[in-house]
Amino acid sequence: MPAPRLELRGVSKSYANGGPPVEVLHEISLTAAAGSITALVGRSGCGKTTLLNLAGAMDFPTAGEVLIEGRSTSSLSESQLTALRRRRVGFVFQFFQLLPTLTVLENVELPLLLSRAPRSAGTALDRLRWVGLEDKAASLPYQLSGGQMQRVAVARALVHAPDLLIADEPTGNLDTTSGDQVLALLRESAARFGAAVLMATHSAEAAAIAGVRVSLKDGRIVAIDRG
């Protein structure tokens, strides 16, 4: 078994907005390997999004460690973090995915543009073809349906072939057909691009594609279900 792409070691997170600190995650330990799909399930407010932000190095634990490719996110400088996000992590959200001012193709290309990667347009078009929306390349986001936007978002999240794909309720806002399309893409991300997929979801269909289902309650892991 290869070394895990992502590892959480006894991670806790608490917020202190003026008052006494409130712990929203408690001693979470978790790993995700290349090509695997992990689903986080649990009630609203149980800490899924918080956990995903920690895993994607967009936020930092108050205790414990988050390791991406073996490096603790808390020890990295701002520029190292930026480099890490550019090369290793891709994000998909529930709402508000695309920049309204950029075309579909430019939206997909954006991570490559931000990291000044060469031949970005060609790669982006490839990914867009992969999600079946190459004919929408020149459209603006408001001209797409919600499902199409989500597929564009998946294409964008994978445009730089990240090691880790983080998806926060990717089907939460979609009808069944669109949801299924997006889930198929996520599955392919793991199988074909070898990404470790970490997904928060409320839907049973989504959870079903995962190899590992982690149930959270009040910031604690209450069950891990493999198979």
């Binding site: 999004t49 967009m58 930026t82 508000f96 920049l99 931000l114 000044r116």
Partner: protein, 832 residues
């Protein structure tokens, strides 16, 4: 009432408090706009409001004033006194004296017999208490003061201190004054005061009938009114300039309210669905604007009061140099001014908020239109806006063709306003065009791409800010071009005008309308100096023509013809004209300066009747010449003509032309040597030229100050709008960070956006600026001052100014850029 207040609190006031930096920036920009208007008004009043002779307190009330150019013959006192009327006729001499430690003060010669007949031979003077306080050493009875009279020191003994309020003056008996000033037989005026019971109309009629027709009999306020009339064009132009900052401020309120409406579209929709009436929504946004207007107005009033105190000297200096002597009075903030400031702030706020507020009530209930769709619609409107722009431009052109209205260039002002409107409505098209043109360039960096797209996608909002910035730049550019052209025109004209090598005048403080006489034998003294080829003795006299003030000049026009380079309007033969003036036979001829010709609608060949001394003299206008030293204008005749009507009138200036090869320095020293003690100053033409340009620059210093304020307002606006754009795009910025943008890239994006703002504003501003400068030069200036200014845009200055504006825009963007770079992505991306 209650629910409305509650709505106002939750929908308007709370967001204002949450966005405190932006609220403050908006209030500050309104405040600056109002402050400039208040300052110019107050300072203008203080600088020009003090012509009233300070001697009223000394000599009592005056009912009529008798004046004449070349002075009033004192024999008329006796003739008037013999009239069967019950009135007092007092001779007056009024001039300026210089006192060490105080500077120039008024010196009056009056019938003050109690002062006459000094025991020790020194003239005895009364000193006003205000002046006594201003002197370095407070005088008392018996103190000896040294007055500097046209360069000659004159010792006097203080006989008494006279309480006269804030007036600063020295007074002596009329006989002493005539003696120390060597003005025998001549008075500056005769003041008439009627005894109680004397029929005023009869008195006036009798006095007029007794005196020569050329003598002016006026009410005492007339001079003050004449001064105010003379200054009105000057003050109007300053005032109009001061409105620029207000226009810029109006754009910014428009912008702020638009942002406020766009941000609360969803709330408005919900409110309307919940049954809120349209007018209530309208009222709320207008209330928000009113809040900005009134707070800004109040702050502006305080700021304006301070600014006025700082600018009053500047304006007084200009009035002194260009128009007439005045001493700045203290700045007084009146209630009228206070209400005006508040009303200005409120009206500007309401007017500029009306359009966006109306947009707010057109939001259909429940439809919370997304910003993307809203902006998309705005983008489609650019063609219609461009059509409007063309309409405004055509109207501007038509309005610029109109003549002056009651002496004011109303058409010109209207054309300027219409041009601003044309530029503002052309902004969306320009933004799109520039965006398209720079597409490949900005695409090289992702920051550029993002910035350009965001600029385009928030087109309606971007356009307002660009228009505000462009208006400020345009005003700066146009005034820069106008002043630069004017300066160059004046410099060229001075080269032509000041052909003599040396200029001689009485060594008194220089001020417009003050022409101290030279000693009578000065012509002979100068001509006798070796190296002097010719001397042109010039006489400058006050002239009142058609209710306006002007200068009557007389010179040796044959010398001018042979040595000078006077330029006449196109098609007029200089040599023939000057020859005809100095010919000495035939009818009396004169030439007039261009401002005089324009003001009084006079052309070459017309007849002109003016008073010269006691005579009304008919003159034929032989030509119109270019002149830039005074907007009041000149009528110039030959010395021979003047002598015919005013024999023995002393010259006021002399121009000395040197023989070829003569050493100007040596001749100058010779003149100084031979006129020692006569109180004369000699200056080479280079010095006069420099002094004239210095006066010019000082005159326009205030203009630059106004420009600077307009720019500061625009900068505040740029910072304000960029901050709004950053806050509104929080989620997008957060998303970008998730996609791998570094804080530096976010900062770069905002700064690039600011750079594009600046570029757009510079392009539009420059175009508008050129149009406005043409209006200023060929319509406004010509109609208000009568000057033909040649078009000389100061390229380097403009380039430097644009570079400065651009840098300051970037500087203004630093704060919003910092805010953007510091947003915490995990917090902002999940909002809403």
């Amino acid at each position: 009432m209650k629910p409305r207040m509650k709505l106002l609190r939750s929908l308007i006031l709370r967001p204002l408090r949450r966005d405190l930096p932006r609220t403050l920036l908006t209030v500050l920009s309104v405040a600056l706009g109002v402050a400039v208007v208040v300052a110019i008004d107050l300072a203008g009043d203080a600088a020009t409001g003090s012509f009233r002779s300070s001697m009223e307190t000394l000599a009592g009330k005056t009912d009529l004033e008798i004046t004449a150019n070349g002075g009033v013959d004192e024999r008329w006192i006796a003739a008037l006194a013999a009239l069967p009327v019950d009135a007092r006729f007092s001779p007056v001499i009024e001039t300026q004296a210089v006192l060490a430690g105080v500077g120039s003060v008024a010196l009056y010669g009056l019938d003050l017999l109690n002062l006459a007949g000094a025991p020790n031979g020194l003239p005895r003077v009364a000193v006003s208490e205000a002046l006594a306080r201003a002197l370095p050493v407070r005088p008392s009875a018996g103190t000896v003061l040294t007055l500097n009279l046209a360069g000659r020191p004159q010792r006097c003994e203080v006989a008494q201190l006279t309480p006269a309020g804030a007036a600063e003056f020295v007074a002596m008996d009329i006989a002493d004054a005539q003696q120390v000033l060597a003005r025998y037989g001549k008075l500056d005026r005769i003041d008439v005061s009627a005894a109680p019971g004397q029929d005023f109309a009869a008195l006036e009629a009798t006095v007029r009938h007794t005196l020569p027709a050329a003598y002016l009999v006026t009410l005492p306020g007339a001079r003050n009114q004449e001064n105010q009339r003379m200054l009105r064009a000057f003050r109007w132009n300053l005032r109009v300039l001061s409105y620029i900052s207000l226009v810029v401020g109006a754009f910014l309120i428009y912008n702020t309210i638009s942002i406020s409406v766009v941000r609360r579209r969803a709330e408005i929709g919900i409110l309307r669905a919940a049954g809120a009436a349209r007018w209530m929504v309208l009222w709320m946004f207008l209330a928000e604007a009113l809040l900005f207007g009134l707070t800004g107005g109040l702050l502006g009033l305080a700021l304006g009061r301070i600014l006025a105190a700082a600018t009053v000297r500047l304006i007084a200096g200009t009035v002194n140099a260009l128009y007439t002597t005045s001493r700045p009075a203290p700045v007084v903030l009146t209630w009228a001014e206070t209400w005006l400031a508040l009303a200005t702030g409120a009206v500007v706020a309401l007017v500029s908020a009306f359009a966006p507020a109306r947009e707010a009530i057109q939001v259909p209930p429940t439809e919370a239109m997304s910003r993307g769709a809203h902006e998309h619609r705005a983008r489609l409107a650019w063609k219609r806006a461009l059509a409007w722009s063309a309409g405004f431009a055509a109207a501007a052109w038509a309005s610029s063709q109109a003549g002056p209205w009651d002496g004011y260039p109303v058409g010109g002002y209207l054309a300027a306003l219409l041009s601003v409107a044309a530029a503002a409505t052309a902004t969306p098209a320009t933004v799109l065009a520039v965006n398209r043109a720079t597409r490949t360039l900005v695409r090289r960096k992702v920051e550029g791409l993002l910035a350009a797209r965001s600029l385009q996608s928030s087109l309606s909002r971007t356009s307002v800010v660009v228009a505000a910035l462009a208006t400020a730049i345009a005003m700066m550019a146009s005034v820069g071009i106008m002043v630069g052209s004017f300066r160059q025109t004046v410099a060229l004209w001075l080269d032509v005008q000041l052909r003599a090598d040396l200029y001689v005048r009485a060594a008194a403080p220089a001020a417009a309308g003050v022409n101290p006489p030279l000693p009578p034998d000065i012509g002979a003294v100068l001509s006798a100096i070796p190296g002097v080829a010719a001397v042109d003795l010039f006489h400058a006299l006050d002239l009142h023509y058609a209710g306006e003030r002007a200068t009557l000049g007389a010179g040796n026009l044959d010398v001018v013809r042979r040595y000078g380079r006077l330029r006449f309007l196109p098609g007029q033969n200089r040599d023939a004209i000057l020859r005809s003036l100095s010919a000495g036979d035939g009818p009396n001829r004169a030439i007039v300066s261009e401002p005089f010709a324009i003001k009084h609608h006079i052309r070459a060949g017309d007849r002109l009747t003016i008073p010269i001394g006691p005579h009304m003299v008919a003159l034929r206008v032989a030509g119109v010449y270019y002149e830039y030293s005074s907007s009041q204008g000149f009528v110039v005749v030959d010395n021979a003509t003047l002598r015919r009507y005013l024999p023995g009138q002393p010259a006021t200036n002399a121009a000395v032309y040197l023989a070829p090869g003569a050493d100007a320095q040596k001749v100058r020293r010779q003149i100084q040597l031979r006129t020692a003690g006569m109180g004369i100053s000699v200056a080479p033409n280079s010095e006069l030229r420099r002094a004239a340009i210095e006066i010019f620059d000082r005159t326009f210093a205030i203009t630059w100050a106004l420009e600077a304020v307009a720019l500061v307002v625009a900068m505040l606006g740029a910072a304000n709008s960029l901050l709004a754009l950053v806050l509104d795009r929080r989620r997008e910025i957060g998303l970008l960070r998730y996609l791998g943008a570094s804080p530096a890239q976010i900062r770069g994006m905002i700064l690039t956006e600011a750079g594009l703002f600046g570029l757009l504003a510079a392009i539009l501003g420059l175009a508008l600026g050129f149009a406005l400068s043409l209006l200023l030069i060929f319509v406004v200036n010509r109609q208000s001052f009568g000057w033909t200014i040649q078009f000389h845009p100061p390229g380097l200055l403009l380039a430097a100014a644009l570079a400065a504006v651009w840098s300051v825009t970037l500087l203004a963007a630093l704060y919003p850029a910092r805010v953007a770079a510091r947003l915490v992505p995990a917090e902002v991306v999940h909002e809403e």
